[in-house]
Symmetry: D2
Subunit: 347 residues, 4 copies
């Protein structure tokens, strides 16, 4: 039984971490730390959790206990830097849900995040926690949880790239997200009055998740033509990702499919679909649904995830379970529910 600290636990991802910690059979207790909500009660921050989560007073991030066994950091980028080095040095498990340790190169933080990294020695020590890939957790206690968009994009692309990199002419990723990805702070352009019935592209060619995707694709062998365009949807939750890949030579669809089945054979959160998934199939779950559709030299791969769960808190909890060698559904879903088989799923 472990004790957990949730730092920055009053945002949208915090809510899920709190629910998972409550349900987790090996978590004996957890404390929530926040900045502006410090001193408030959990039930007043999350009225919907009354009855399912016991109330507690939210602590200040100024007073983080070093006695927890694991820490989830759900702070805006640039802020994790202030807490993680000292927590990491205690050898407790630290899972950062923000972007401060995702990139491997210090210089990329100057370029994409506009700051000088103050603990860059951790960039090479951390593991990038794309939890449905085979991850070696043995030499680190710092897990950098992937961004929401990179999760949807990389799970859709990595098996292809690892196996057919040379045959790829270009990759264009078009990703659409619900507004919860932008966080809880009030913003004029995210009001329902503005977003009702609306869609828009944003941060074109400038999104911080682009270097993260490029980095992981490069590690898998692909570093050529890549575009990544993000959009906001008039819904709260979910990311739908459409990857358009132009191939140099024709491929066989079955051989691509086999690659995905093999790569994800040990993952119980990937569902390969015979049709493009509905986003609604994955919302409120830790699943990533993937469909592959080949026509000549045009390959379309679609994926769907819940941005706050598979794209954040669910994947973080999965990482914790896997780090400790536990069944990876603990806390996330009832352990009775885990009957996925690896055949291709026709909807």
């Amino acid at each position: 039984m472990i004790s957990v600290g949730i730092i920055g636990g009053t945002g949208y991802t915090g809510k899920y971490l709190i629910e998972y910690c409550t349900k987790h059979p090996y978590i004996k207790d957890f404390n929530i730390y926040a900045k502006t909500s410090a001193g408030e009660n959990l039930h007043s921050v999350f009225p919907q959790l009354v009855g399912t989560v016991e109330d507690q007073t939210i602590n200040s991030v100024e007073n983080i206990s070093l006695n927890h066994d694991a820490y989830f950091i759900a702070l805006p980028h640039g802020e994790s830097l202030n807490y993680i080095p000292s927590l990491e040095s205690t050898n407790k498990l630290v899972i950062d849900l923000g972007g401060d340790y995702r990139l491997d190169e210090e210089s990329l933080y100057e370029k994409w995040y506009n700051y000088t990294h103050s603990s860059s020695y951790l960039l090479s020590k951390k593991v990038y926690g794309l939890a449905d890939e085979s991850i070696d957790y043995t030499n680190t206690n710092l897990i950098s949880n992937p961004g929401c968009y990179p999760t949807g994009s990389l799970l859709a692309l990595l098996p292809l790239v690892k196996n057919f990199s040379e045959n790829i002419l270009s990759i264009s990723i078009s990703a659409y997200s619900g507004t919860s990805g932008a966080g809880k702070s009030p913003k004029a352009d995210l009001m329902l009055s503005e977003m009702d019935g609306n869609v828009k592209a944003y941060n074109v060619n400038k999104h911080r998740h682009l270097p993260e995707i490029a980095q992981e694709l490069a590690k898998a062998g692909y570093n050529r033509n890549l575009s990544f365009t993000t959009h906001l949807l008039p819904i709260s939750k979910g990311i739908y990702t459409t990857c358009s890949i132009h191939l140099k030579n024709e491929l066989d669809e079955n051989s691509i499919l086999e690659t995905y089945k093999n790569d994800y054979t040990n993952s119980n959160y990937i569902r390969l679909r015979t049709t493009p998934p509905d986003l609604s199939w994955v919302v409120n779950t830790n699943y990533c649904d993937i469909n592959i559709c080949l026509s000549g030299k045009t390959l379309i791969i679609t994926s769907a995830i819940d941005n706050l769960i598979k794209g954040a808190s669910g994947q973080a909890m999965q990482n914790m379970n896997q780090y400790f060698g536990w069944e990876n559904t603990l806390g996330i879903m009832d352990s009775k529910l885990n009957v996925i088989d690896k055949k291709l799923i026709s909807a």
Copy 2:
């Protein structure tokens, strides 16, 4: 460990019954029976359940096994009549989620449902399963699960009516529901293209849930001025109910609140709120959130439920648990999650 039959299990309420049965620790197996989907696989009807519920072939309602220990009937009204009398006669538990046994008077079926009841002897034998009221299940094996609107309305009104009936001048119920209450069959006026951004009243003074509400209020002592207006919202799930009560004489708000706290002291699914609830607080849960606001002789009581859960499948499962004397959260939510206390909840 029991075996369960879910009849009409491929609709919106069926999906939740299937999930609850899968998670329930005392249910060893369940079979699904349907009409048009008979012969199909569960996973093709509910692609979102892949991974969490094992696949099975859907059986025909023509071949319902008599070997189950409990039956949930989720058929359109008028159809339950064809199955329930024979199932009921085996002394197995039968829970009807439809309207065919909710009313106590045979003549009301002629008036409101336009049919002659073929098993009216069961109307007095059944128990009306408003599961957060104290129900005596001892003399019946037929539970008539309340309608979705009556659940939201009656939970909001019964403690008041039972204690202050004489002081009530009039009750006006205005209830708003998501479209899933209308079922899965395609209908032109429920297409997203029509309902996007839309709201409309329907079945004014003619909704079949009106006599059901009137019946239960009358049993509690009130049979005077009552109106009930139903509306459709441009959302999938949830019912928001606003009850406007004009009083003859002023009352004390605290004495009303005490009544509610006392009445629901044993119910772990009622959350009394100090502000009107957000519908989002209860969606995907079995909770009913209630707020009471008194000003002079005007009393406004608001309630919020998930129409498919508290208003259908969650309440049905709660009824089954209570009937068998089990903890009433089994199947519905992780038993670790049940920490509601009876103090008034400030959001």
Copy 3:
């Protein structure tokens, strides 16, 4: 040809005033005045108006020209007071879209608006501009445009109250509004992430539109049991109002209908419907659709309006047209479009 000043013209209602002024054949020019947006360009505030409205620089409210012939004031309540007395004294037409002059009694401002009225002498001089009622504009140049909720409620209720007041036992108004009624300023609880799929009651028994409705109903002869509950919908625009009236004695539905037809015989913006209206029928129009449904002593009247048009800017423009004796569709809709007849409309 007149010149118009739009004060507070950068909010949601301002956008419609700008479009109507652009299309209006008798408006030669208009200027926009605002506080925080002063100095910005109209096209940057309203990118969607590029192409249909010529750009102009937004002026400061500190520099309102006295040379306009008519003024629309679309400021938050409490702020109109700072501008209207001096504008009104020039004898130009002043139409206030806010609440600062709607109530007749100075004391009500202390109670409901929490301020001491600084120009209460205008409360009796102004006319309350419910534009589809017969209004006498002859003795005033100050029109107080009704609130959005009162517009939907009063248009639904006034013909009844004027003719059958003595027979009414109680009136309960349940009104549901899109979020644009709350304005453009960012608020945490109006973000799409919070309101998606959500509904909630607010300001129960405390909404400032309650005394406004009560005042006008009292003038029409009814001052007894009245409740008014407001709710937010997960849509941007529209108000749906359901009035539940309990009668002392039975009435004839046709005689009620005749009353409405007679009362609105000269109004081309009221559409009497044989079924409850869809909210979508009136969004983006200046119509108010009304349905009356009687059953015994229970009367349900539903109405639907666009809160920003009929509930604000459309009605304001209609008031201006009527004040000057012009065709009341000018600016609001193409004059070719005005073919409504007074028979009851079956949908």
Copy 4:
């Protein structure tokens, strides 16, 4: 003054054609023809048009008058073939909003539409009516109105392709549409209950608009790597198109922009934006908003249209105006509103 026939006028596009014909100063009358709705009244099919459009009885497509001066055909594909050859032979203007004449090659209908074309001699006679391109209407009276997706895609791509074709390595189009594009017939997967909060790709590599886009890009000089993926959004109206273009060599963003400004210098419905457009900016208008964003050899072009207006009825009316040499805003928007200038628009 002309007389117009609207064939298939009771669907979503029909509604706009009816409104435009009503407002159009040179249309003296119009008749509506339909199949299943024949004999019904216009006001019962479109209750929202009461007051703005005079009622008329809907005629049967079996009895199309040959006395109209222009015809709009808004029928499902495969059905226009039954009416257009005879109408076209009368030398009246015929504008087909369906797909039956969009493709130039007869064989493509076998492949993509699964039928043998019965009037293929018209494929070369028709003009493809992408109305914001310079179209020569002189030698035809048959205008094939572009598909909704091709309108958004081609307006975004054609100026680029016409001028920089050789430099393009690949084009990937990801387009998202509201559900109204799928028509009014009830379909289970387009119910609000299914689509609320949902997104999904469909017809991947199989959408009939793909050969249409490929055909027009090929005419403009590009016939290499092209993908086109369509998705459904949980909104009623609008298409958002994101074109990702990988270039062989770097280009200058200004030179691309100049190309677009020049190409669209005579078009009053194209708005070039300095940021990606909001879909809400164009909904309920005939505008197409376009943004160009270049970074190295990656070019992202986004466009937004209303699928029923610019993508169907608005463009059809624009084609009619342009065919007859009239101001192209007639019927579509108040002629006073046409002040767009050609400078780049900063939002």
